[in-house]
């Protein structure tokens, strides 16, 4: 954003008053590489370790202080080599990884093959209670370091071998052609010796190899990150640093943005979406993110696991007026879903607009007919279960129910069943207590079609909450994972997705967008496909 020198001074004065570091000499330019911006943040739920962070707030920090073998392009989502010089395989099962030369951690320690192998062994080991341990589940020896029950019999994954200072080999338990593309996930980041030698100190002030380093960290309130001047990568930070401030309520963060106390908000509250154009003008961004909301069904319940129930599910799907709900409740920050993946994958990545076909279109009359053909709703009604503590779940569940009730001409056909906390909601799902459809949200771990299908619909997969099981689907996924040709693999995954459609294993609702608003000081603000701001590209004036 260009501004005149005059206005530049005013902004500088404000910046001086607000941020710790002020404007440098040339305040009128398009970007000051020394200026620090402030951004909204939430308190990470788990300790800030790469293999222990499974939510977006901790993920933000990891994205700033770590770089892994691969990195997902902030715009296209494509996995590109970052620290990996090359990852070679001849059989999609044994991989040889070569790490680029010249990379160090911000404390000066060299990033070697050992840094990766140690980190992965730490993440997989049961002893360390890492929430993301299952990411290493494909590597040989995982069942020894992380047995389903009992004590672990090994400390390190037998499938990982360091073969040189910069090379190591990975042996998987099965063929998995897109394995290298998953390596951009934070859990696969390298770790310095300091992490293992003085773990407590590291967690208090993490040290990584990314474009930023942690200057200070006050748990639960603020983290100050500063640009690492000796960062060897080509995605060096364009600003002087970022102050992440914890906000309990995104409304307060938004108010602070309006008052000029905050530079960047990456979660515009639903209630403010109507005003955002007025308040911020073009300093607002609303782009697709790799998040899809669906309604899952309890297939462990006899009533939902019959031939006829498929028709009921299809009917329910057609009874939901997605367009109206996304327009009125979400102000177009969500898009009606027409498949089970996400637009961020792109056509080549496997997103297929309209794969769901007429089953995802709003056709109330046919919906009613289909449900009647399927023997009506089990027990004459459905309840949609959801957690009422976050998001605007209550609003949309009520709207979905209204839509179903209208289509069926029955005021009591659908009711909402709120659950107080997310933990309790997850508990009821794990204990198989659902009797009707329930909210299922999925934020991708890495931008691959595999990540939208396998964890959610494969037999006994970790996020297959409805316990749906289909041999045809499983076979197709297995074949797709073995396929070395990417285009063919994607094609197989899409065939698997068609199986999901034909059985209506889950009703796709909408794709979620990421949103961000920023102050006049900032320019070049972007959100990556994970709806995290690309901090290192932000320019501050």
């Amino acid at each position: 954003m260009r501004i005149t020198t005059h206005a530049g001074w005013a902004v500088c004065a404000m910046a001086l008053a607000l941020a710790t570091a002020g404007c440098g000499g040339g305040g009128g330019g398009s970007g000051d590489s020394q200026a620090v911006l402030s951004a909204s943040w939430g308190d990470p739920q788990n300790p800030l370790e790469p293999s222990n962070t499974n939510e977006v707030q901790g993920g933000k920090v990891l994205d700033m202080i770590f770089r892994g073998l691969k990195r997902y392009d902030p715009e296209t989502g494509e996995a590109e080599d970052m620290l990996a010089e090359k990852i070679e395989t001849s059989d999609s099962q044994n991989f040889t990884v070569t790490v680029k030369d010249g990379w160090t951690f911000s404390n000066g320690e060299k990033v070697t093959a050992q840094s990766f192998v140690d980190a992965w062994n730490y993440g997989a080991s049961l002893r360390n209670n890492q929430r993301n341990a299952y990411f290493f589940g494909y590597i040989e020896g995982y069942d020894q370091v992380h047995p389903e029950e009992g004590e672990q019999t090994a400390d390190t994954l037998s499938g990982l071998k360091v073969t040189g200072e910069r090379t190591f080999t990975v042996k998987l338990t099965q063929k998995f052609s897109t394995f290298p593309d998953t390596l951009g996930y934070a859990a696969f980041a390298p770790l310095p010796r300091a992490f293992f030698d003085d773990h407590d100190a590291w967690v208090k002030k993490p040290v990584g190899n990314g474009p930023y380093l942690v200057e200070s960290y006050t748990r639960g309130s603020q983290m100050s990150l500063r640009t690492w001047d000796d960062y060897p990568g080509d995605d060096k930070a364009q600003n002087g640093g970022v102050d992440l401030k914890v906000y309990t309520d995104n409304n307060t963060a938004y108010t602070d943005l309006l008052a000029g106390n905050l530079d960047l908000v990456d979660d515009v509250p639903a209630a403010q979406l109507k005003n955002v154009k007025n308040d911020l003008g073009d300093r607002y961004l609303n782009t697709p993110a790799g998040i899809i909301q669906t309604l899952a069904f309890p297939f462990y319940d006899e009533a939902w696991n019959t031939e006829d129930a498929t028709k009921v599910r299809q009917g329910l799907s057609m009874a939901i007026d997605r367009a109206q709900i996304t327009d009125t409740i979400f102000q177009k920050t969500r898009t009606p879903a027409t498949d089970w993946t996400s637009p961020v994958l792109g056509e080549d990545g496997g997103f297929q607009d309209g794969l769901c076909g007429e089953f995802c279109e709003f056709k109330p009359d046919e919906a009613k007919k289909l449900i009647e053909e399927g023997g009506g709703l089990p027990g004459g009604k459905v309840t949609i279960t959801f957690n009422a503590d976050t998001g605007s779940h209550r609003e949309w569940v009520n709207a979905v129910c209204n839509s179903i009730n209208n289509a069926l001409d029955n005021e009591r056909a659908c009711t909402a069943n709120p659950v107080g906390t997310f933990a309790d909601f997850r508990n009821q799902i794990t204990d198989r207590k659902m009797t009707g459809p329930f909210r299922a949200g999925w934020q991708m771990d890495y931008p691959l079609i595999q990540n939208f299908l396998q964890p959610l619909y494969y037999t006994n997969a970790s996020s297959n909450d409805g316990k749906w099981s289909n041999k045809q689907f499983d076979d197709l996924v297995n074949r797709a994972n073995q396929e070395t040709d990417t285009a063919k693999a994607v094609g197989l995954f899409q065939q698997a997705e068609e199986v999901v459609r034909d059985n209506m294993a889950a009703i796709p609702l909408w794709y979620q967008n990421g949103s961000a608003g920023w102050s006049e000081r900032l320019s070049s603000v972007k959100l990556n496909p994970f709806s995290v701001p690309v901090y290192n590209e932000i320019k501050v004036s």
């Binding site: 499974n54 929430r131 309130s221 008052a259 906390t421």
Partner: protein
């Protein structure tokens, strides 16, 4: 007096144990918190089992409670899910909330009592009616409305203050949140003082004091106010605990990272250790505040003696 205090302190023990047990059970009834730690996926059973062990959730509730209480007496309040010690959380949260409460209490005493005295002495006059109406408005408008409105007006529209409080939360930034937090209680204090003053104004000792020819100021402050303050002190004393624990709404609006914030976070994440730890301290604050109030009675009214 000494024996009275000892007796009261001993009475606190069963109250304390009962209160913590109730809270412990209530948080436990909410269910297993581990499931919420793994995002939108099932925790793998091995990790879930390890986490349950780490947080002591694999034992029966009574045993958890006994262990917890045992640890509390040695000063160990357990660990929150994000790996922080609960005592560390308290160390950051309580100073902030104490500052906020102090400001609120000062507002209550200074503004509330002054308004109460002024209106009590001028009953039925326009000042009285005006203040009464005002307090009625303050009582009937919910705190979050007052808070958000003032935040928007002073913080965004006029730019007088920062809409949110920084993480250090110094006194000057807490003035507006303190006022918002105090608003409802302030109105009650005004009304309580007013009624009490108006009632005592007609009592014999005031007439005697006036007849003795004492200056009006001395009559009001030494005789009238001192005797009228007993109900007000009771109210403010009970309010201290209430303000500290009930600041969740105000703390959310102004992004203050105090006790309310930690409690809210703890409840959302079903973190027994945080919730029980903080509430335990709040229970203690309540009990001590009540004791101090009872002792203050004797200071205010010499007829009250403790034996």
């Amino acid at each position: 007096m000494g024996r009275y205090v000892v007796r009261r302190l001993l009475q606190m023990i069963p109250v304390f144990i009962g209160a913590t047990l109730l809270i412990f059970l209530m948080v436990n009834v909410m269910g297993d918190p581990i499931a919420g730690l793994c995002g939108e996926r099932q925790c793998d059973p091995a990790t879930a089992a390890r986490l349950e062990q780490e947080f002591g959730l694999d034992k029966p509730v009574w045993q958890q409670y006994v262990t917890y209480m045992g640890n509390v007496f040695t000063g160990d309040f357990g660990t929150a899910f994000n790996g922080q010690e609960v005592t560390e959380l308290m160390g950051t949260a309580f100073p902030v909330t104490i500052r906020l409460t102090l400001i609120a209490i000062v507002f209550e005493i200074v503004i509330g009592v002054t308004l109460g005295v002024v209106t009590g002495l001028r009953r039925g006059r326009p000042v009285d009616t005006g203040v009464l109406l005002l307090t009625l408005v303050v009582i009937s408008v919910p705190t979050f409305v007052t808070g958000l409105l003032l935040q928007l007006l002073l913080g965004v529209k006029w730019g007088w203050i920062r809409p949110s409080v920084s993480s250090e939360a110094p006194f000057d930034e807490l003035i507006l949140p303190g006022l918002v937090l105090a608003s409802v209680s302030l109105a009650y204090v005004t009304r309580l003082t007013r009624t009490s003053i108006a009632e005592n104004r007609r009592s014999d000792y005031v007439r005697t004091a006036v007849a003795k020819g004492l200056p009006r100021r001395r009559v009001v402050v030494r005789h009238l106010l001192r005797n009228s303050l007993i109900p007000v002190v009771t109210f403010i004393g009970a309010d201290i605990g209430f303000l500290m624990g009930g600041a969740i709404v105000t703390e959310r609006i102004f992004n203050i990272h105090g006790v309310g914030y930690q409690l809210y976070q703890g409840i959302l994440r079903q973190n027994t250790q945080t919730v029980v730890g903080f509430v335990t301290v709040l229970v203690l604050v309540f009990l001590v505040a009540n004791l101090v109030v009872d002792l203050l009675y004797a200071v205010l009214d010499p007829r009250i003696r403790y034996v």
